[in-house]
């Protein structure tokens, strides 16, 4: 079947089975490979994208369900929060192998868009669905706080 999906501000017509997880549509059909496959069962967060602004696990979202949503992937996430997060990630050299980091960044950006000054508890809640097998957690936490600080500085 043919579906029209909105990804990164563009409309794409894709011929795929409606049951195909969004993850594989992004990766195989649209060649947006920044979104990773880590578990396929919504356990690791490596496949996180924004669906209508919400962080969602694309590995368990069938194509037919997201056909009318606005989808944003790591390749196109932008705005003040995304910039602040990337700058903080870079300043602390957060990634090790890097494989989880697209998903981590998508979740961190979504967190900062809703909570300006997250507490450690907020960070735990927002980020505990994302596994980092390299255990870069402390740097992720510190970078989120850095990014929040940057964003507060920009608004005052």
């Amino acid at each position: 079947m043919s579906y029209a999906i909105f990804v990164n501000g563009q409309i794409h017509h894709v011929e795929d089975d409606g049951q195909t997880p969004l993850l594989w549509v992004l990766r195989d059909t649209l060649k947006l490979t920044g979104t990773k496959y880590g578990c396929g069962v919504a356990q690791c967060g490596a496949c996180t994208v924004h669906v209508d602004g919400q962080p969602m696990r694309s590995c368990t979202l069938p194509l037919e369900i997201v056909a009318s949503s606005q989808i944003t992937t790591i390749e196109a996430v932008e705005g003040a929060e995304a910039e602040a997060v990337r700058a903080a990630w870079l300043a602390r050299d957060v990634p090790q192998c890097g494989f989880c980091q697209s998903g981590q960044i998508m979740c961190a950006v979504a967190l900062l868009r809703t909570v300006g000054s997250p507490t450690d508890g907020d960070v735990d809640t927002a980020m505990s669905g994302n596994i980092c097998r390299c255990a870069t957690y402390n740097r992720i936490r510190a970078a989120i706080h850095d990014a929040a600080g940057t964003l507060r500085g920009q608004t005052t």
Binding site: P21, T33, Y37, R86, P95, D124, I131, C134, N138
Partner: protein, 732 residues
């Protein structure tokens, strides 16, 4: 002074001889693994591992371009451990290059140019320390000579700083790019002078940072999973659900009805389904009907296997042990006051976040492979065997790996070989083999299951007088008599007061494949030795730090002593701590690096909670303090995951933990804060990818011993029942 003389002599060997030396090392390893294929061994040595790389007058590891950038060639696998950074810093330091204009590229598999390409044993820093400093220093000498000649001044009056070559007297200066042609005409010196550590401007500073962060935060980094080639197929394989099972028969008629499924066929490891995309391959595989022949398969369950291991340790089977440590009369009778310790450890999966995968294409005699792989040279040999060609025809593009922890470095090159076997069926079309998370978890090459049994008699002074130690564990590789599983016991400083040591390993063999798992043998011996020592200290009514101090002192273990002293200082050892909390300590040496950790632990609802870990490391000259800290943090998270949760168990031979819901990984809310302190050292640097793992489990267990009075006798701490042991329970 002595050290630099030795180094000069070593480099005085010609490059040809250095590389020949490398081939012999690689040759020996290759012989050990594939003795039945002497032609491939000969091929690896004689033909090299590929065509010449991009030629550079500065040797195989350094390229300098007209853009003034210095490119360092990384012959190792970057899997998160940051090796690319450490290697680049060695070159940049000696070359006095501007670090901000240094980039790193990953070498393709090329035995002739780079020697053996094997990333293992936290060895890449140590094994490249001479080669890469010499490469940088040789290039520097060539620029100095070129500038001296151009300006008619003595080489001694030339300085280089941040890639600018200058003459102090006249104020003249030039960039590398401007001097490039002249420099390339110089003869590379055989024994360039190397800096003394006190003159380092880059190494050891916080400027030595990763070079790959930007692609990893933009989604731009290409891993094997992301490779997309024209006309590429995607493959998945139905593997035997039991280890050692063989394909009996299969029916692919339903699979082949699925649009975009191209073919399905039997290969040595199961049934391969190839399709135009990943999801179709997955659906095709799900639609297969497969019957397995389990006549030679492992059908036991984990509790049964442990019972069997206990029988083996007690000497009640016909498995003959291998003696790995002995002192005095090993057969000596032990007295009745002997203390007895037992430990059980389960299989552990590496579970890197990127499951195994590989891209391969066979085109006549030529084989092309793209994959993140630790043992490139070995893969070339195995690939040549499968593709019926010579290793020189196997071109491997080594991609960064989304984690590995030893999984992407197996003696059989398992997933690379599997991909090639599929590629033989695709008429020259490239094929990307994808393992699902479930394939990866159930796919073996685990840290082995291990049983330890130790009998120790204390002398009147409270220190070990007799120590008998039996280990039962499958071999990780079929060479070396299983010594890898005894590392950490062998040569322990805790044997110094013992007049009798009797160390043996029993190596049962069954179809579950085992392999190297981050920190290898220390992943269990570290726990055993460090938890025993706290129990002995308790028996002797001494403080654990004090007890270790006395043993290290007598053993002359100067580096352990220094780590212990610093650890006590930085962790507040001995100072009061809130009620309900306790500190536990452990110190291990792994691949030449000594690490001590103190964990602050309390027990909440029956579970240990670790809030903070203070870590001290002696890894010789620290190259990148930031990356040393990063590896310490990561290793603690990795080791704590194993300590709390890690277990792959079998039920009737079937793996029970096949995804992260049943094989939990430590998450953000459980990660302790980590403080890393680095011992100042002028010794040759040693590795950091693995040595931070072993101490955390015993540090936590030692704190729990204080809190509960009960020793930990098996891991993981939180799911002992899965192992069929009744002796694991957390008391609060």
């Amino acid at each position: 002074m002595t050290e630099s003389k030795v180094e000069k002599r070593r480099f005085a060997m010609t490059r040809r001889r250095l590389i020949l030396g490398g081939s012999l090392v690689g040759g020996a390893l290759v012989v050990g693994y594939t003795a039945t294929h002497p032609m491939q061994v000969a091929g690896a040595i004689l033909q090299g591992g590929g065509s010449d790389p991009e030629p550079s007058v500065f040797g195989p590891f350094v390229r300098i371009g007209a853009d003034d950038w210095v490119t360092v060639v990384n012959k190792h696998q970057e899997m998160g451990q940051g090796i690319h950074t450490a290697l680049a810093a060695m070159v940049a330091e000696e070359l006095d290059a501007d670090w901000d204009r240094v980039r790193v590229v990953d070498a393709r598999g090329n035995f002739r140019a780079y020697g053996p390409q094997l990333t293992a044993g936290s060895n890449s820093v140590a094994s490249n320390w001479d080669t890469l400093r010499n490469a940088g220093a040789a290039a520097r000498t060539m620029f100095v000579a070129a500038a001296a000649a151009r300006w008619g001044v003595s080489p001694q009056s030339i300085a280089i700083r941040d890639s600018i070559v200058s003459h102090t007297g006249s104020g003249r200066s030039a960039t590398f790019a401007e001097l490039l042609t002249d420099a390339s005409r110089q003869t590379p010196p055989q024994a360039p002078e190397l800096k003394q550590p006190e003159d380092y401007r880059l190494i050891g500073t916080d400027r030595v940072r990763r070079k790959d962060t930007v692609p990893k935060i933009t989604g731009g980094q290409v891993y094997t999973q992301d490779v997309d080639l024209p006309d590429m197929l995607v493959a998945m394989v139905a593997h035997s659900p039991r280890f050692g099972g063989k394909l009996a028969r299969f029916d692919a008629s339903d699979a082949l009805k699925i649009p975009a499924v191209v073919d399905a066929f039997a290969i040595e490891t199961g049934v391969a389904v190839v399709a135009e995309n990943t999801f179709a391959a997955r659906r095709g595989r799900d639609a297969l009907r497969v019957e397995w022949d389990d006549s030679k398969a492992e059908t036991r369950s984990t509790p049964e296997l442990f019972r069997y291991y206990h029988e083996v340790a007690a000497g009640r089977t016909d498995i003959e042990p291998n003696v790995l440590e002995t002192k005095g009369h090993p057969d000596a009778q032990f007295g009745s006051d002997v203390l007895e310790f037992t430990f059980d450890f389960p299989y552990l999966a590496h579970a890197p976040l990127e499951p195994m995968n590989c891209v391969a294409q066979i085109d006549g005699w030529d084989i092309k492979i793209m994959s993140g792989t630790q043992l490139v040279t070995l893969d070339q040999v195995h690939a040549a065997r499968i593709g019926l060609t010579i290793p020189g025809k196997v071109d491997i593009e080594v991609l960064p790996a989304g984690g590995s922890f030893g999984r992407r470095g197996t003696a059989t090159s398992d997933f690379v070989v599997e991909c090639l076997r599929i590629a033989r069926h695709t008429n020259g079309r490239p094929v990307k083999l994808i393992w699902t998370r479930e394939d990866d978890m159930a796919g073996g090459f685990y840290r082995p299951m291990v049983h330890h049994r130790a009998w120790i008699e204390l002398g009147p002074d409270g220190f070990p007088a007799r120590w008998r130690h039996h280990v039962v564990s499958q071999e990780m590789v079929p060479i070396g008599g299983n010594f890898q599983n005894f590392e950490g016991i062998t040569g322990s400083p805790y044997f110094v007061t013992a007049s009798v040591v009797d160390g043996k390993i029993f190596s049962p063999s069954h179809p579950v494949q085992c392999g190297f798992w981050r920190s290898v043998g220390l992943s269990h011996t570290g726990m055993v030795m460090e938890h025993i020592i706290d129990q002995l200290a308790r028996q002797a009514r001494r403080d654990p730090a004090d007890y270790r101090w006395a043993l290290y002192q007598r053993a002359g273990a100067a580096r352990h002593l220094a780590v212990l002293n610093e650890l006590c200082l930085k962790s507040g050892w001995g100072s009061p701590i809130e009620t309900g909390w306790a500190r536990g300590m452990a110190i291990t040496e792994c691949f030449g690096t000594v690490v001590g950790q103190v964990a602050e632990v309390r027990i909440q609802e029956g579970r240990p909670v670790v809030r903070k870990v203070t870590a001290v490391v002696d890894c010789g000259i620290p190259i990148s303090p930031d990356q040393i800290a990063a590896q310490m943090e990561g290793s603690i998270g990795f080791g704590l995951t194993a300590a709390l949760y890690g277990a792959v168990t079998l039920k009737d031979g079937f793996v029970q933990e096949t995804n992260f819901d049943s094989y939990p990984i430590l998450r953000m809310n459980e990660m302790p804060t980590v403080e890393t302190h680095i011992i100042r050292s002028a010794n040759r640097p040693t590795g950091m990818g693995e040595p931070g793992v072993p101490p955390i489990a015993p540090a936590v267990a030692n704190a729990m011993l204080i809190l509960t009075g009960s020793p930990t006798t098996s891991l993981p701490i939180l799911s002992g029942n899965a192992l069929g042991n009744s002796n694991v329970s957390v008391r609060s």
